[in-house]
Subunit: 108 residues, 2 copies
């Protein structure tokens, strides 16, 4: 692997963000946080996995720069760090209808 051209820091940052969103539980968390911050226990209830698993997902997303957290009282609240995500996801959702043509190989 010999990835020239783009600044590698930029590339790594972008890939980290994509990885942070490339999992059903994490995508659901991101979607949910678009309507405002939530504490870890809320997100655990949403995802339905072990608390430790959810915590690890959140750490990953925070380290990628997708989420920010803040401690208030007993709870830790997470929220989205960037607003551009919603726009992108809505665009992707609209892409879905014409998917059949995209999924097939051009050699079929």
């Amino acid at each position: 692997m010999q990835l020239t051209q783009m600044p590698s820091a930029t590339l790594r940052q972008r890939v980290a963000v994509m990885k942070a969103l490339a999992h059903p539980s994490r995508m659901l968390i991101a979607e949910t946080l678009m309507s405002g911050e939530k504490c870890v226990c809320d997100l655990q209830a949403l995802v339905g996995a072990d608390m430790s698993t959810v915590s690890k997902h959140l750490t990953l997303m925070r380290q990628a720069g997708v989420l920010v957290c803040e401690k208030r009282g007993l709870n830790i609240y997470y929220r989205l760090a960037c607003s551009c995500l919603g726009t992108f996801l809505r665009c992707l959702d609209e892409l879905t209808p014409n998917m059949e043509s995209c999924r097939s190989s051009c050699c079929d």
Copy 2:
């Protein structure tokens, strides 16, 4: 794992797109294709991996709906299927400067 709420087809589609972009070689391919279509051998030269590896990356991206391909003459040309990607990536790149605060835990 018990992911309620969002239509699961939408969730799966979104996750597939994110996975398709969550790899340095594939992100580089996506970035490159923003300036127009390229054939597989061009992309192999860019990425610097085995041809079969690049081909598998391209298949993954096509199946996720990120790329479309077309055969012309001896070559197969790949291009981006959606234009919204560029906007999102530029937004992410601008996010980078304030990353330090995002990466740290709120409990530090």
